[in-house]
């Protein structure tokens, strides 16, 4: 009997097709992706049947941590017609910081020490939550230290304080405000007309909070929004069906 010869086949697998598929997938993910914005605290938003999408620009968001700390961020959009650079997110932040700082100095009489260089740095920041008198120190830190600063639940300086600042107005009467209100007004008056319109209509203000957060914590925020006549706003939710 003759020996049956087993043919030796090459074990090389042709990867070209595989490569084609992966490149296609990669292209798909690259084109559809919107990156997760980094947030100082992670919250799970409550579910709702509302199907209105979150705007990607011209929105001031208020993030409330379960402990009641307030963080804010603002997104603008450069207008095609006006071609005004100050309308972009960075421009809005820059102007907002300077106007918030000057308002803060006016009502408290304290110096914040915020410089133009600080404003340039602030323009690059996403969500923030720092007392205005610590802002200068905060902006001098490098990025990972900043995240640590805001993410530490034990840090009393993190979060925008809602404590009342009582001051004398031009007519000699006393008025109350707080840093949260100063910031909201600063965003509103940052000179970006689209942002102002969106905030007026309510879609430009987004409140984001964890589902388990006490209503008393949120109530403070809602109260403050009411005080500055921003009665219309939107709340970030996840999607659910009617049957749940």
């Amino acid at each position: 009997m003759g020996k049956v010869k087993i043919k030796r086949k090459s074990t090389l697998i042709d990867m070209t097709a595989m490569s084609d598929v992966t490149v296609l997938l990669l292209t798909f993910f690259m084109l559809t992706s919107t990156f997760l914005a980094k947030e100082p605290v992670t919250v799970i938003t409550p579910a709702s049947v509302s199907e209105i999408k979150v705007p990607t620009s011209n929105v001031a968001s208020i993030l409330v941590s379960p402990e009641g700390k307030v963080f804010m961020s603002v997104l603008g959009e450069a207008d095609i017609d006006s071609n005004d650079e100050s309308w972009s997110s960075e421009g809005v932040r820059k102007i907002a910081l300077l106007s918030a700082a000057s308002k803060y100095e006016e009502v408290t009489g304290k110096k914040t020490g915020i410089t133009q260089a600080d404003a340039e740095k602030f323009a690059k920041i996403g969500a923030f939550g720092v007392r205005l008198d610590k802002m200068h120190e905060f902006l001098a830190l490098d990025q990972s230290k900043q995240d640590e600063f805001m993410g530490d639940p034990a840090n009393a300086d993190a979060g925008i304080p809602l404590t009342d600042i009582v001051y004398q107005n031009a007519d000699g009467g006393t008025e109350k405000t707080n840093e949260f209100q100063i910031w909201m007004r600063a965003f509103y008056n940052s000179g970006n007309g689209n942002l102002q319109d969106a905030m007026k209509k309510g879609e430009g203000i987004a409140v984001k909070a964890d589902r388990g957060t006490n209503y008393s914590t949120l109530h403070q925020i809602l109260d403050n929004l009411q005080t500055i006549k921003m009665n219309r706003f939107s709340v970030m939710t996840a999607l659910k069906t009617e049957n749940d």
Binding site: L12, D14, M15, T16, A17, M18, S19, T22, V23, L25, L26, F29, M30, T32, S33, T34, F35, L36, T45, P46, A47, S48, V49, S50, E51, I52, K53, V54, G202, E203, A206, A209, D210, R211, G212, T213, N214, Y215, S216, L218, H219, L222, D223, L225, Q226, T227, K229, N231, R232, F233, S234, V235, M236, T237, A238, L239, E242, N243, D244
Partner: protein
């Protein structure tokens, strides 16, 4: 595929170079692509989160009270939300995994008379103003459950009309826009008996319960509702309810 085959037609010429099949190994390329895909998959948010629009009444008190007194007993319903929490402040869940939210509600004005002086609130003679408790249960095949059933019954006139329109829309007899317009008209039709809902929340109520309550307004097509602050009468009613119905 990855090799370029070069056939030599016929006889080899003398001095011709030896032709080789060129193989390109794509394995590292695939490796790298897979890594990139993994990166993009982990960093992307495919589902954008949704928003729910809220408009609060302006905080001038007078307007608020006027509005409340205007609403008829049969139309007004007040919801008071509470959430049960454990010692650490985390929301407790029941056996089915639902967060333990309770909705106390009363129709019309709160009834707090205690004529027989037994320290408990009497039963209201006309049935209005009695505090009851419900839960968020959603829908089952049998229909609406829990607080949704109560709100549904309150707004049944408008809902019946909207359902008619919805049926037309499902059969594609009217367009989406027409349906939305009609639904809005029905929601705001003052000839129908429509409820006025006042949503209140205790300090320990979870944010989720507030959003779920607002959601119920959307589901039940209720156009008149507002968020209000809890007052002493409401707290007294809840205390009285808990005394009458002690927890097991």
């Amino acid at each position: 595929m990855a090799q370029i085959e070069q056939s030599d037609g016929g006889k080899k010429k003398k001095g011709a170079q030896k032709k080789m099949a060129i193989h390109v190994d794509f394995t590292p390329m695939v490796d790298m692509n897979m890594l990139l895909i993994t990166f993009f998959m982990l960093c992307t948010t495919m589902i954008k989160s949704q928003t729910l629009n809220i408009s609060l009444p302006s905080n001038e008190k007078i307007e608020n009270e006027e509005q409340q007194s205007k609403a008829k007993n049969s139309e007004a319903i007040t919801l008071i939300l509470t959430t049960e929490r454990d010692a650490n402040g985390n929301v407790k869940s029941d056996a089915e995994g639902r967060p333990m939210n309770t909705i106390y509600y009363y129709e019309g004005k709160p009834f707090i008379d205690d004529a027989d002086k037994d320290g408990r609130i009497d039963v209201s003679p006309d049935g209005y103003g009695i505090l009851r408790a419900e839960k968020f249960l959603g829908n089952t095949p049998e229909g609406e459950q829990g607080i949704r059933k109560i709100l549904h019954n309150k707004n049944k006139d408008a809902l019946a009309q909207i359902d008619e329109q919805k049926a037309l829309w499902r059969e594609k007899k009217i367009t989406d826009e027409e349906f939305q317009k009609k639904a809005k008209e029905i929601r705001n039709d003052s000839t129908l008996t429509r409820p006025v809902v006042i949503i209140k929340a205790t300090p320990e109520a979870s944010w989720e319960s507030v959003i779920t309550a607002l959601d119920e307004m959307q589901i039940n097509q209720i156009s008149r509702y507002q968020i209000d602050n809890i007052n002493q009468v409401d707290s007294a009613l809840i205390l009285d309810y808990l005394l009458k119905n002690p927890k097991k």
